[in-house]
Symmetry: D3
Subunit: 68 residues, 6 copies
C-alpha cells in the first residue's frame, strides 16, 4: 500500500545496535552513502532486523533540512 | 562547524516550489534518487535556493524509518 | 511490507485541503476521534486522497508526546 | 492552556519501560488501539508515569503520515 | 497539566503569517532571540494567535540538534 | 555553510548523559533557560561533546509548537 512519505530509498542493513529502549540501524544505500535510523528496540525486533536485510529507508519531507 | 545530524547527503537542487508559508525543495542526490524537503518559504529565500545549487540534504536519525 | 512505525491507526478520510505546497488531511479514526495530517500537496495528489478513502494513519513513536 | 498540537487522544498508561536515556510509554487509547511514545527517561520520571495513569497522547500534525 | 516536552520557553508573538494550509508564527523569547514555528493555519486560528500574545514555545527533545 | 534550520541558539553544554544507543545533552542557553537534546550516542561521541563546550542548538520550525 503506497505511503505519503516522499523519500523512500532502498538499501541493505549493515549493522543493528540494540539498547534498552532504542535501537540504531545503519543502512547502506549504495554510492558510498549510508543512513542511520533511530527506532525503538521493539520495532527492530518486530521486523527481525539484522545485517544483510533488504530494506527501504523512509523519511517524511517535513523532516528534511537543507545546507547550502 | 560539525553537526550532530547523522545523515548528510550531497546533491543538486532540481526544483524550488514556493507557497505562501512553506516551500518544497527537490534535490537530486545521484544514482537516480531524489530528496523532497519541506521548509519554510523564508528559509528557502534566505538561502536563495534555486535549481542548480550544490546543497547537502540533512536528516536527523530519529526521523528515519525502516520498511522491510 | 511491514514498517518500523509503531503507531498505525485505520480510518476514513473526512476532508482534504490543498494549499500551494502543503495539504491537510483529516481522518476519522472512529470513537469520536479524528487525526490531522500535514503532508505535501504532491503526496496528497500522488495518493489521490479524497473524502471516503480508507487509509491508515502512521506516527513514529519518537513523535508522540504525553500530557498527564 | 490550549496547545497548537492538533492531535490529542485520551488514554491510560499500560506500560512504562525505562532505559538509560530514553523511555517507552505504551498508552491504551480504547477501541483496541494503543499508542507507543518514546520520550526521555527524565520526562517519564518528572511526570511519574506509571501503569494506570490517565494521560493524553499528543502528536503534531506535521508528524502524521498516511498510507492508502 | 504537565507535558513530557522538555523544552518550554516563554515568549511574545511578534508576527503571524497565514497560508492556505500552514501558518508561520514568530515568537520573541527575549535576549535578542526569536523562535519560528510552522503549524497548521487551523491551529493558529483555533488559538487566535496574534502579535502581542503571551505564549510558550514547545520543542520535543528528540527534535533538537547540536552544532559544535 | 548556512542551514535552512530557522532556530539556532548559542549555548554552553552543561551535561552529557550517554546511554547504549542514545545520549541526552543539556545546553545552557542563558537567561535561566536550558535546552535538552536527544541525539544518538554516536553523534555525541563524534562531536566529543562534554560540559563546557560552546555549541549551537538547532530546531527545525516544523518541530516547534505553541501553547497559549
Amino acid at each position: 500500500m503506497p505511503l505519503s512519505v516522499r523519500n523512500q530509498i532502498p538499501g541493505t542493513v549493515k549493522e543493528v545496535k540494540l539498547g534498552a529502549v532504542m535501537a540504531e540501524i545503519i543502512v547502506d544505500v549504495g554510492g558510498g552513502n549510508q543512513f542511520v535510523s533511530a527506532i525503538t528496540k521493539d520495532a527492530a525486533e518486530d521486523l527481525s532486523l539484522k545485517a544483510g536485510d533488504q530494506v527501504t529507508v523512509l523519511v517524511k519531507s517535513t523532516s528534511v533540512m537543507i545546507q547550502k
